[in-house]
Structures are given as C-alpha cells and as structure tokens.
C-alpha cells in the first residue's frame, strides 16, 4: 500500500514537472477570426515553410486585451482579429512591430495601417439578412436609423457582442455624434432582440423565428455556398445608399513587437497577404479578400458595395473604447 502511495506521489510530481509549459511551436497566433479558415491557412503555410504554428482561439477583443496584460512576455507572435479595432488599440499602445514591404504591397493602402503596424487580410460588409416569407425587401428599412421606429419592435435581431456591430457603433459616434448614437442604441435595446452570436441570428432568420437581423455578409454567403442560394428562405439586403448599415469593416493581422520569432512572423503575414493565402481565406470564410487579384466565387462584387463615406479610418474612435463605454452606459454590457 505504501508503495502504491509512493508511486502515486511520484506520478503526481512527474506529471507536474513534465507537463509542457505550453505546446511546442515556432509561431503562436492569437486567433480571433473564424477557426476553419485560419487553420486552413496555417496548414498551407506549414506545408510551404515547415514552420510549425499553434493558434489560440478566442474573441478578438479578449485576445488583444490579454496581450496588453501580458506585456513584453506575451506568448503570442501574431494576432489576427475580426476587426481592425483591437489592432489599432495595440498599435496605439506601441506593442506592434512594423510589417515588411512584400506583405504591405499585396494590400491596397486604404486597408492597412499608414505606418505599417497592421495589415488588413479580409473585408466584410454589414448587411441585413431577411426571411423572404416574412418580409419583402422593399419593406425593409432604408437606414439603420429607421430601426428606432417602434413599428420594428421584436422584428429584428442584433448581436451586441459582435466586433462588427461595435465597429458600426464607433462609426456612428464619429459621423453623427455620441448623443445620436446613444439614443439609437437605446431604441435598439428596446425594439431589437438580442442574440448571442451572428450564426445564431442567421439561423433564426432562416428558420423564420424573426424577420431580419443585422449581421455580416459572410454568414449568409457561407450558407448559400453550402446549400445553394435559391434553396434558402433568407436573402441578403444591402441598402445601397452609403448608409451606416452597409459599413465595410476590415479584419487584419499584426506582429507583436515582443515576438522572438520576427522572421517567421513576417513570413506568415507575407503568405497570408499573397494570392495563395488570400484564396484560402476567402474560400473558407466567404469574406472579401483584400488582395485584388483573388477570385471571390460569387460573392457580391466588392466594387459594387456602397459603404458609408469616411468610415475606413475612424480616427480617435477607432480603438473601440467609446463604443464599449456606450454599450455599458445604455446597460447592454
């Protein structure tokens, strides 16, 4: 019996001693983007370069703030986020390294940081997805501000935890001021139905639980690729009036200044912005590639989108702080 005890103590101490301090990898990516596409990109990259990459899945904001907390000792080499917001926050805190030329040149200037601290990889558009049996496209609101009207009560879904939704809010604060944004948010809280994520809202519209939802284009585009657009009960609706509801947002990546694998990290970003990498990303996620030479296979052409003006750079509101504060003030967070 005592031998058993000694054995188990031995086993325990060895377990604690030898348990890996973290899984071994050349590169660690904090990934806030959709897992499937990122993993496909990583696999192709490893095949090409033999560099082993490990990704830590989380929400973009959570991972970015984690990096701030971790400081110079952060295990992350690269952060890849759903929106540019967290990247701008990290750049402002001087935690990012400059990205090298070849990668930067793959992406048009308006979709990357002017100083080269982060680079956009994919774009996505805010849309309304609506159920064709419950509502006609011509009855849908022509501006997001119409949603303040009580006639839309319980007719639409929104996702307060979505980074793109928050970006929309930041853009609203920048363009129309904090007060207007606040009263819009209050009316949304009153009239809209909260869902936990874009996918859940997409499915609810498709099933006919709710007439329409404010989400990103690729949730519907992905479903349409899987099942065929004509077989779906739902469709995409763009207002086409340069309204905030058609906001285009940028998802991007950055290299951490504290990374001990600068060279490998640069290689990864170069690959992610190259035609091959961009093709993988768009094929696996139905988001718009930012490298102009890549085929998007049936997404609404990027050139036909009508985003609101002056919303690619949100200036002082681009770190998302004001939007979060507003959400807390209104009592949604």
């Amino acid at each position: 019996m005592s031998r058993k005890f000694k054995l188990s103590t031995l086993a325990l101490s060895s377990l604690l001693a030898f348990s890996p301090l973290s899984a071994y990898a050349d590169l660690t990516i904090y990934n806030g983007q959709h897992k499937t596409a990122t993993l496909a990109l990583i696999d192709a990259f490893t095949e090409k370069t033999n560099i082993k990459v490990e990704s830590r899945q989380g929400s973009s904001n959570e991972l970015a703030h984690q990096i701030v907390e971790e400081g110079a000792r952060s295990p992350a080499d690269i952060i890849y986020t759903e929106e540019s917001t967290p990247l701008i926050m990290l750049a402002n805190k001087d935690l990012l390294a400059e990205i090298d030329e070849p990668a930067l040149n793959n992406i048009p200037a308006e979709y990357r940081d002017a100083d080269g601290y982060w680079v956009g990889l994919l774009a996505r558009s805010r849309v309304m997805v609506y159920n064709k049996d419950l509502i006609n496209a011509d009855e849908l609101p022509t501006s997001v501000y119409d949603l303040s009207d009580d006639k839309w009560k319980d007719k639409f879904a929104f996702i307060k935890t979505s980074g793109a939704f928050q970006k929309q809010l930041s853009a609203m604060i920048k363009i129309d001021g904090r007060e207007k944004a606040k009263s819009w948010l209050e009316s949304l809280k009153k009239n809209g139905k909260e869902y936990r994520n874009n996918k859940a809202a997409m499915d609810a519209v498709e099933r006919g639980d709710i007439p329409f939802a404010l989400i990103n284009n690729y949730y519907w585009d992905n479903l349409a690729r899987e099942q065929g657009a004509d077989k779906l009960n739902s469709a995409l609706y763009f207002m086409g009036t340069h309204d905030l509801g058609d906001l285009v947002t940028v998802s991007g990546a950055a290299i951490l200044k504290s990374s001990k694998h600068q060279d490998e990290a640069q290689q990864f970003i170069a690959f992610a912005t190259s035609e091959a990498g961009q093709q993988i990303l768009t094929d696996n996620s139905a988001q718009y590639p930012l490298n102009p030479n890549v085929d998007t296979h049936g997404l609404k052409p990027f050139s036909e989108l009508t985003p609101p003006n002056d919303t690619l750079d949100l200036g002082e509101y681009s770190d998302g702080k004001a939007a979060i504060e507003l959400l807390q003030e209104v009592g949604l967070l």
Partner: protein, 516 residues
C-alpha cells in the same frame, strides 16, 4: 461561526507540516477576493462604484435570482414528488424507476441544453432556461430525499396515523420535517449551480451574472467591470451558503433507526395510478430520453461535418490526463486538510473544513479569471500551463475529495495511531504505514469523483488551458456555439460515456445504501 468556547478535547498542538496546507488553502481562498480588490483599485473607487450601482447590475440581479428561485423551487417539488411516489407508493418497478429518474445526472447541463436547442431553437429565454435546467437538476433533490425516505423510522408515522391524523397531515407534520436536511442540501446545491452555470445559459440565451461576466471578458476584457460583477456574484454565493447554515439550524431531530425497506407502509394508489405512472414516464422521457436521443441522432446523422477521428482522440486523451492529474492533486491536497479537521480541534481545523466549500461555490469562470490575473502578474512561468489549470481544478473540486476521505478517516480510531506512536515510530511513518492504507477506499472514491467533475468543467478550462489544447468540453462548446450540432456530437457522446455514466453509477450507489 459561533464564538462558543471550544470544548477542550485533546488539544494537541497542530504540527507544522499540517499547518502549511491550511495556510496554502487560506491563500488560495483569498485570491478571488484579492483579484476583485486589485481590479477595483486599478479602476479607481468611484469608477468601481459606478460599475456596481447601475441599472444593468440590477437587471442581472433580477434575472439571476428569478432563475435561481424558480428552478430551485420546481426542481425541489419534482424531486420530492418523484421520491415519494417511487419510495412510498405501490407503483411497480421501483428499482428501475429509481435508476431512470436519476439518469439526467449522466448528462452535463450544457450538453442537455445543446440537445434541446438543436431541435427546438425557439426554446430560449427564461422559460426555456427554467425547463431545461429543472430537468437537469431535480435529481439533486430526488436522490437524498429518496434515501431519507428509505432510512426513516416508520414508528413515527404509525403513531401519527393512530392518533387520527390524516395521511396529508402526517406527511406535512411528520415526514417533511424529517426530510428537511436532505431536501435543503439538494436545494442549496441547485441554487449554487444556477449561480455558476454558464454553457447552458449561453445556448439558451438567458443572461445571468456568470454570462455577463463572460461577456465583459469576451468583449471588453474590461477587468474592472468583470471584477465588479464578480463581486456581486460572490456576495450571492456567500448568501446561499449563509442561508444554508441558517436553515439547517439544529441537526436532525429524529432518531435514525434503520427501518428496513418495505417496513414502511405503502400508499395504495387508486384511480390515480396510471396517471402518476404516466407523469413519471413523461419526466424520464423529457429529462433523460430527449438529450440522449438527440445526441444519438446527431451522432448518426453528423451532417455538419465529417468525423474527425484524430481531433476526437486528442481531445479525449487530454481530457483523461487532465482529469487524472487534477484528481491526484486535489486528493493530495485534501489529505492533510481532512486529517487536521478530523484529528484536531480549533480554528485551523474549522478553516480546513469550511473554506474549500466556499471556493467550490464560486463559478469556474471566477477561478479562471482570478488565476489568469495572478499568473500574468506574479507567476508568468505558470501562465497558460497545465499545472495552473490543474491548480484551478483542485481548488474547484477540493470538497469532493475531502468528503470521501473524511468518511473513511472517521472510521479509523485514533488510538491505532497513538499506539503506533508509543512504539517509537515517527508520525509521518505511522501515517504512511497505518493510516493511509486504511483510507484507501475513501481515497479511491474521492479520486473518482473529482476526476469525473473535471471532465465536465468548461469555463475555467477555456480561460486557463495551454494554447492549442482542447478538451471534450471545450470542443462541444466550440462547435455548438457555431451551431455545428453534428460536429459536436462525438465529443458530447464521449463526455456522457466516460464522465456521465460513472458519475451516475457512483451517485446511485452512494444514495441507495440505506443511510440517510
């Protein structure tokens, strides 16, 4: 705790070796409180206050309490009714029903809600949450109440009936007071579950403090705001534990004579019998049948993705190794604490006994946030490592190891140890050579119980796991969050098979022995 003078029984000085684990325990317990204080300090007192006293917190409080009270009440009613029906009436197949009624134990709540949501997506919000969580939790009342009913002394009831009291009067005046400890114990557990539940409520789209804390962390990583919500949640947890101490009051007031099963008189059900039988069958179908059938259906149809054998296997081995090492750690930590509590009197012994229950009542999410916070600041070499995750597990599930070990140690007379000591053996040797071997069954049961709890753990695991590591629970969470029901089925099924069923068998066994 009362400030009565401690009765002087064998006031041996506590050896230093036993003090260290208790000090460690005190440190670990104070971490969540420290985390809140430090975060509040970072934010500044006025900002911290404004984060606590706002409409949102009031709304969450309402939501959380509403859910807690409703689910606890309905679960308790169902649990008492099902226990009484099965134990005290002439319904057929008593043993079979007893087993089936407690089958929901085999399905973790977040898997159960995923199964419901995947077939009835409209089932969300308050009513959906109440339905699903009640069906998950009523066995926590049914089991102890059924055991208490079996262990009761029939003489009391017979006396009451012979004095001319009706059956109903007897139930309320004689039975119910005797059931109180069992019933309360179960109800308190359910209440704490409601405070800690995350996964199920996330699927069911119902906000409580725990989901709101997660959102804060997820969206804003607003340390201060998450911490202030945590503070309110902590107060609620302490409130529930305090309530238990208040309600428990004096210990059982009935003599526990072992009435052999069958000695109690059985109620002969008349025309109600088929209806009650139907009710029990309906309960079993909803609580156990639906989740198991739905997981089975998704497993077979597996439409949302191909079967990833490699991924399933690696999640399985990770889960098993986490479970095993975490259970070992918890048991090794629990041993000296139990020893202290059983063999010594005084404040330290009380602390060793009580504190783990306080930590255990905290949601895994809070333990996760706390450990991340301290690891980043003061122990970076621990950050995102398996040992830190194991420490989290040990903290969360310490009481389970303790209660199993305690039961066996109580049965070992201290005279045995004293005799060995008088023969000149060192205390340590006596412990290793005599006490420990005698405790083996308790150690084994404790290990098993903690192991099975760890397998189901979700929120602390999400926060603390090493990069690139997944467990069965995190895989279920990941896939179901994206509505990939087929893809999460293999993980969910494995989780039920290797954690649910053993837990179920363990609980069944421990309650069906005729001891209340």
């Amino acid at each position: 705790m009362s400030s009565k003078a401690v009765i002087k029984q064998s006031r041996k000085p506590v050896p230093l070796g036993l003090m260290i684990p208790v000090i460690l325990l005190v440190v670990l317990t104070s971490l969540p409180l420290l985390y809140i204080v430090l975060r509040a300090q970072e934010a500044g007192l006025s900002h911290a206050m404004s984060l606590i006293f706002r409409t949102r917190v009031y709304q969450l409080l309402l939501n959380t309490l509403q859910l807690l009270v409703t689910v606890t009440l309905i679960s308790t009613l169902i649990g008492v009714a099902s226990a009484w029906l099965i134990e005290r009436t002439d319904l057929p197949k008593r043993k079979l029903f007893n087993a089936l009624v407690t089958l929901p134990f085999a399905v973790p709540a977040f898997i159960s809600s995923y199964s419901w949501i995947s077939i009835f997506p409209q089932l969300e919000g308050f009513s959906g949450a109440v339905l699903v969580l009640t069906l998950c939790n009523y066995p926590l009342v049914h089991l102890p109440v059924a055991a208490a009913l079996r262990g009761m002394d029939p003489a009391l009831e017979e006396t009451s009936r012979s004095l001319g009291f009706s059956r109903a009067q007897t139930f309320f005046k004689v039975l119910l007071p005797q059931l109180r400890p069992a019933l309360l114990g179960g109800a308190i557990l359910i209440s704490l579950h409601m405070l800690a539940e995350f996964g199920a409520l996330a699927f069911l789209n119902y906000e409580t403090f725990t989901t709101a804390i997660f959102d804060q962390y997820y969206v804003a990583f607003d340390g201060a705001s998450a911490a202030m919500l945590t503070l309110v949640l902590l107060i609620l947890c302490v409130g529930v534990i305090g309530l238990e101490i208040l309600l428990r009051g004096k210990h059982n007031h009935a003599t526990q004579r072992q009435g052999s099963p069958g000695a109690q008189d059985q109620v002969i059900l008349g025309w109600t019998k088929p209806w009650l039988l139907l009710a029990i069958l309906l309960l079993i179908t909803l609580a156990a049948g639906v989740p198991l059938a739905v997981i089975g259906y998704w497993l077979l149809s597996g439409s949302s993705s191909a079967f990833h054998g490699q991924e399933v296997l690696s999640a399985l081995t990770t889960t098993l190794s986490f479970g095993f090492s975490g259970a070992l750690l918890a048991t090794v930590f629990a041993l000296p604490l139990v020893f202290l509590a059983v063999r010594f009197q005084g404040r330290l012994a009380n602390l060793a006994e009580r504190l783990p229950y306080f930590i255990h009542s905290l949601p895994g999410l809070v333990i996760g946030l706390t450990l991340v916070f301290f690891a980043i600041r003061y122990a970076f070499f621990f950050y995102q490592t398996t040992p830190l995750l194991l420490i989290g597990y040990a903290m969360l599930f310490l009481p389970m190891a303790q209660s199993s070990i305690r039961a066996t140690l109580m049965q070992i007379p201290p005279q045995l140890e004293e005799m060995a000591r008088s023969l000149g053996k060192s205390a340590w040797r006596v412990f290793i050579r005599i006490t420990l071997p005698l405790m083996a069954p308790g150690l084994g049961a404790g290990l098993a119980l903690v192991f099975l709890q760890i397998m189901k753990e979700l929120t602390a695991t999400l926060l603390l796991r090493p990069t690139g590591i997944d467990t069965l629970a995190t895989k279920v969470w990941e896939h179901t969050s994206n509505a990939e029901y087929g893809a999460s089925a293999p993980y969910a099924a494995l989780l039920i098979l290797i954690s649910g069923l053993p837990v179920y068998l363990l609980t069944m066994r421990s309650f069906t022995r005729n001891t209340a």
